[in-house]
Symmetry: C2
Subunit: 875 residues, 2 copies
């Protein structure tokens, strides 16, 4: 039979999955001989069992709990309801991963009218006994019965008023007795049942409350935000009470073994004399810094400091600990690896390596790569943030914080920027035409669009903060106002947005600029040493490329050649190309684009020296380059000297029902091979020029997008090869180049063996591959994915973290098939997933050669790639 309850001495730190983090660490500390009050843990499996049994704690599990209590009674010599030595326990949740705020704690369980008197006598402290009792009622009502704690506060206020006192300290034992009486009445009145007096009943109800709280909205939300599976469940820790509030020789506190904010190596924390744990959190009394404990209770302090070091050495990590001092004796109530800022994480990692506490590899594993984002982008001043007003929230689409004045169009952004204003560009959604405005905005806020919407991708590439899909916002473009619920903001009103949390704030919140420390550099050196994957960047412009190089990019994995076509002077030629009626007209327009393209590539080749650069050919549907508003259409028709009606008809003819699955990618070049010819010419000529000028050996990687069939690839490869080879021969030079493809259509993955016969490299375009494999468009999914999260159908956004089971299967398939016909096939990934740590780990495992991500994610990719190699002992 499965065991659902473990005494602390039966467990250890390795049993985290069933004991939860807290339970496992209590067991581990017990094993280490540290002063931990006796107790036991009800496993996470019991929680899942509860949910699978129609939310009933089955009799078997109830029996196990009662058995554990008996044992606890034996060991402690205390007993529930005992008239001499009554047992009081705390009940705490504790899941596999730390989930702060998910669950409240219940202290003093076991208390009732009889027990309180025994404790009063035994401690000779009636006030303490009744204070503990009333706290228990309050917590129990709140946590177990859902009757808010704060509702009891009015009773406390009444009593204080009657006594004409201000603080709790001034209340005496009689007051607390009265309080208990009134609490019980209030409890019964509101809950239509008496406060339970039997400790066993109290305990079962408390355990069930913990189980239930696993599925409260907050917990579900937190798990979603932190990629925690819903089926992990929570464990319940039941532990003998120790009291920090039994007198002046008692205390309770929390402390980190090092400073979690900056990483400095000293105890960092606070405590309260004569208090229970919740007082520290509640903020009614101001806790003292932990250093002062040294003077007040030197022995206890010494014990604690020793234990902190011991735990750090034991866990090889900075510890976050809770303790209680009962009559000068220290008890450890919890320890766990401490959360820390990215700055602290880097410093602690470096220090611990120097202290020989960690190897470089262990130090790398101690860093959460995602947290580096905060080092690379500005953040809000945390103090001012505390009092800021949240207006609404959207998706955390591109990290960093920004504040500025609201503008509604890219043109207005540019204009205001020229006038020295800092702006936040607020749009329903962005389009390629907005690029220039986006580039100079402090931040971008969109009403629609997901994590891989145009706004999100472009913003991440630029390192600009972006909140997307803030659906509560209603934009009135005519009046230039936005309304969020009842608040209306005008153009040029200040607003602040946090792209790391998705929150939108009213007014101006100052930001702190990004800072890169020497620790950062050191950690990157380690990462470079251990990672196997190459880290490339997605870069469309020389600026992107320069930035990515600074972050350590080892090449460009994706240059979207069309991103260069949106600039004002170029889009004209692009539009001429689109409206061309004959191949000759089209070729003439392309000839105008050629010098731009060539010079763009020259710049990229120059900056990247001889690092590999993968250039993707024209990809988006052509209508993206044409105007949409009647006004713009009229203007452009005029400019192009064609009839407005004709231009409208062209735009209509380019309309598609499902543009994502329409005439785009290689399909464009198959319809108009002259586009591929021009792009080839631009690349090859640029490479030849730069090789000559700088004596480089650039080897361009030409990438054909959206291939679904070997014949598509062959057709274009022939055109590209012929064009390229003619230029190379005409120039009488040697130039190597590669022709490969993006694998972004499921069919391409399924037929990768055929395609690899012709393609020299594959780059997995995981954005489109995810869309096609799931059958939903990233732009439209927002409307139903919320329901999916709420109903726990999906655990996380497949556009952020690769879906290993489905999309990943296709990628593995393609990898295996591709290598079967071309063992030397070069494999990479260049979708938005390229910067996601779990995806990078996956890429490492299936043996890709590189990942490519936006410049700001390069450091994250470094760490994630190193961690993947270290974890798999593959470095």
């Amino acid at each position: 039979m499965k065991k659902y309850v473990y005494a602390f001495y039966e467990g250890d730190a390795t049993m985290r999955n069933i004991l939860g983090g807290k339970g496992a660490n209590l067991a581990e500390m017990t094993k280490l001989g540290l002063p931990v009050p006796y107790g036991f843990t009800i496993t996470t499996e019991a929680c899942n069992h509860y949910y699978h049994s129609n939310k009933i704690i089955t009799p078997e599990i109830q029996a196990e709990i009662r058995q554990a209590i008996s044992e606890l009674e034996n060991i402690s010599g205390k007993k529930f309801n005992d008239l001499h030595n009554p047992l009081l326990v705390s009940v705490r949740s504790g899941s596999r991963a730390s989930m702060p705020g998910m669950m409240d704690t219940i202290l003093n369980l076991g208390m009732n009218d009889t027990v309180v008197e025994v404790i009063a006598q035994k401690t000779n402290n009636e006030r303490f006994a009744y204070d503990s009792y009333r706290r228990f009622i309050q917590m129990f009502a709140d946590v177990v019965m859902g009757l808010s704690k704060s509702k009891f506060e009015t009773i406390i206020d009444e009593i204080k008023e009657e006594k004409n006192v201000v603080s709790d300290q001034e209340l005496d034992s009689e007051d607390f007795k009265e309080m208990v009486k009134r609490f019980k009445i209030f409890y019964k009145k509101n809950l239509h049942t008496s406060f339970p007096t039997d400790p066993h009943t109290q305990l079962l109800l408390a355990v069930e409350a913990v189980f239930k709280s696993w599925n409260n909205q907050r917990a579900i939300f937190y798990r979603k935000m932190n990629d925690i599976p819903h089926d992990w469940g929570t464990a319940v820790n039941v532990q003998m009470m120790v009291f920090g509030n039994m007198g002046e020789d008692c205390a309770t506190g929390v402390a980190f073994s090092r400073n979690p904010s900056n990483g400095e190596n000293h105890l960092f924390g606070e405590f309260l004399i004569n208090a229970q744990g919740e007082d520290v959190v509640a903020g009614v009394r101001t806790p003292l810094p932990i250093e002062q404990l040294k003077a007040l209770m030197p022995n206890a302090y010494h014990d604690f400091a020793t234990i902190a070091k011991k735990l750090e050495h034991h866990y090889h990590d900075m510890q976050d600990m809770e303790f209680t001092i009962e009559n000068n004796k220290l008890f450890m109530l919890q320890t766990r690896n401490g959360k820390r800022t990215a700055t602290a994480a880097l410093k602690i990692a470096c220090d611990m390596v120097d202290e020989k506490l960690l190897t470089e590899k262990e130090a790398l594993l101690s860093i959460n790569p995602k947290h580096l984002d905060s080092l690379l982008h500005p953040q809000f001043n945390q103090e001012i943030l505390k009092s800021a007003t949240i207006l609404t929230n959207g998706l955390a689409a591109s990290p960093g914080a920004a504040c500025g004045q609201i503008v509604f169009t890219a043109e207005d952004a540019l204009k205001s920027h020229q006038n020295g204003k800092k702006v936040i560009l607020v749009r329903l959604e962005t389009s390629p035409e907005d690029i220039e405005g986006m580039a100079i905005a402090e931040g971008i806020l969109t009403v629609r669009g997901g994590m891989t919407s145009h706004a999100a991708i472009v913003a991440r590439g630029m390192g600009t903060c972006c909140v997307s899909g803030a659906g509560e916002i209603k934009i009135n473009e005519a009046n230039k106002t936005i309304t969020i619920n009842t608040t209306t903001l005008n153009e040029f009103d200040f607003i602040s947005i946090d792209g790391s949390t998705g929150l939108v704030y009213a007014g101006e919140i100052p930001t702190i600029p990004a800072t890169i420390s020497k620790h950062f550099d050191r950690v990157m050196t380690w990462a470079k040493k251990y990672k196997k994957l190459s880290i490339r960047c997605n870069a469309d412009t020389p600026q992107d490329a320069q930035l990515a190089l600074q972050f350590g990019a080892e090449g460009i994995g994706l240059t979207r050649s069309e991103h260069m076509f949106f600039e004002a002077d170029r889009i004209k030629a692009m539009r001429e190309m689109i409206v061309a009626k004959t191949t000759t007209q089209r070729k003439n327009a392309l000839a105008k684009l050629l010098p731009y393209q060539r010079s763009d590539f020259e710049q990229l080749f120059k900056i990247m020296e001889n690092l590999p650069i993968t250039i993707r050919y024209l990809d988006p549907p052509l209508h993206e380059f044409l105007p949409t508003s009647s006004y713009d259409i009229a203007n452009i028709a005029n400019e192009m000297k064609i009839d407005v009606g004709e231009l409208k008809q062209i735009i209509t003819s380019l309309h598609e029902f499902n543009p994502m699955m329409g005439h785009r990618g290689c399909r464009l070049a198959i319809s108009y091979p002259e586009i591929a010819e021009m792009q080839t010419r631009a690349i090859i000529e640029a490479a030849i020029n730069i090789n000559k000028q700088y004596n480089y050996h650039v080897t361009p990687e030409i990438m054909i997008p959206l291939i679904g069939d070997i014949n598509e690839f062959k057709y274009l490869k022939n055109i590209i090869k012929e064009t390229a080879d003619n230029i190379i021969i005409a120039n009488n030079v040697k130039l190597n180049y590669k022709i490969g493809t993006m694998i972004e259509i499921p069919r391409a993955a399924l037929l990768a063996d055929e395609i690899a016969q012709e393609a020299e490299f594959f780059s997995f375009g995981t954005n489109d591959l995810t869309q096609m494999t799931f059958g939903f468009s990233r732009d439209d999914a927002a409307s139903f994915l919320t329901a999916y999260y709420d109903k726990k159908i999906y655990e996380h956004d497949p556009f952020v973290k690769i879906d290993q089971k489905g999309v990943g299967k296709l990628i593995q398939f393609a990898t295996t098939l591709g290598k079967s016909t071309r063992p030397a096939l070069k494999l990479g990934i260049c979708g938005e997933h390229g910067g996601d740590p779990s995806t990078i780990e996956f890429c490492h495992h299936i043996g890709l050669d590189y990942v490519s991500c936006s410049p700001y994610r390069v450091p994250i990719a470094y760490i994630a790639a190193a961690q993947a190699a270290i974890k798999s002992h593959d470095h």
Copy 2:
């Protein structure tokens, strides 16, 4: 070394792939001892070799040809250029499959100024000799050099004028001599080279011309239309000439061993006395019916009739033969299995079984299932069709022929229909709102949309003729006119369309109604006996179901439950449901839909008795149910008593970038589970009612669309089960039902093992699966697929014929994975491919349980399924 040339006596009928159909049959006839003029075949591999060698006939192959000529000279005793007995040959193409019209024949090759004189002397017929010579020059110039035959006709006319005669018969030998002279001058003038005199040169040029003609536009188009791979190549047959034009004891003709039009068992054909083959085709002289040959040349006729029977017995098929009689001696020039109408195919099949010439299985294999379409739908009167004007062409979207008056809206169609008019509904594209108008139209013509557009699918379901994607048509909705190139037609002008060919004709062409013969029924009985697959139908209405039953459907594989929501009185409730702001409002609207749905299902259950019925839950995006024009929006808002602005906002909020990949399918029911509850209630209550009333045992099959994840399925399965079981318990009955899913998202196929743990059946939705696997939308693909066919990137439309390599791989994957976790998993296919013979064969091979197709395709599916079973000896 590979052999590229085979003498007729070296080959046989099994070598069709390399000798081509004609060559293989000439070899086979030679083997049978029939009178075939000596000759040899240059293989299809030589043709491919030519294309792989930069369009050069390599010296090795040239040598083989010369060797074959030497041998032919030895056997025949004739020689190229011989002054006593010169060899003349014919050169004919012959690919693996019959490709009529692809290639012209060259006769009399070997002729030159010397040879013609020898022949004149030898035959004592100068006129014949020079007539043959001038014919050769004309054919050679046309076929080999691309100088049109008709250009020479003016010279013939000149000579006739000079002689003041009308017919060729009146010209004498001197006239033909003069003609030859002038032809050679004309040849040189136009082609800047003299007419080649060396027979070997003539032959090589002719062979190359045959190879080249494999890739002319006509041939490519024909192959595309007939699913013939481009890499089959063509063979070339070189054969000693025999002459049907050497005098009155000579003749030439073509005949079928049975009547190809109605199947009656007698020789059917025609001949000309003193003529060459081309004269029969050219239509200058009117050929005589074959029966008359009996009186004119009794021996030759007797020989031919005997050979015809012999060949029928040998090939077990009706033969299409060419013959020539030279000086009363019969020569066979070709035989092949004859093409026939569907009517004839069925009669011949039945007769041959009765004559013990074929077994039932062989008879089934002799029928092209696709041709049955013409039996089941009206066809144009072929005589009148010959003189009809073709306006344009589109896709052959739904078979049959129709003529009627043009109308532009579904409402106008209804109105005109009530006024007794027959109408053709002409639309840019159709939408669900057009259903009623489509139902009463004779035919449907759309400008946009592919083989699986809304118009195409609905029309096929209704058995209504439809031409879709006729892109040349410009509709002016305001003026109610259409313009095709320079022709403008008005509302109520007559137009005729052929949904079997995609052609659009001007004016009224009478149609002949569909007729089903006793032979049809007999063939169906055989098919039923041998097929393994069940044949179900896609049926949304009682009418569909009734029709499909008549055709032999063994169940319904797909009922699109939403198709019932578009009718006028129901769509109101549907719209109320969509605009509902609260769950309660939504439930109220759904309650109004419930009785409709229940009664629809009752009717279906009743009609189908106990046959299985698969009902798919609500699938399309909700915006499809809302109006689009401002006028309609205003009206409907008024009707629904909501604000126009509000309705507009709802419509805007439902707008999607890629609706095909948006909020639809199971995603709707996950957002609004009350929809699934209502649909479940309707199905279960309907089944209970019908079971009670008729003592049936209906087992509804509930199909959840667009599943991509096991959790989606589980979530909805729970809701459906709970709803269904509560109703069953409340009614105190026993009712079995199944819950399964469509596999139409690539991810579902990849994770089929997981999904099969919960789903009791899979139905492959190959329309969507093809779209997602290829990454293109069927509605948008038309814009680039033309280029794909032109450039030979695709051989055929993946929406018509399943893509076995890609989509098929996923289906096989899903089949294997699904059965791995649920061996009894029921598997079917319900996309548009379900009626395509090659797809059906594929479904048979991978072990599906059934295919489901539109009612009119049920007979086709029967035959295809039987053929698949017979071919694989699996019956």
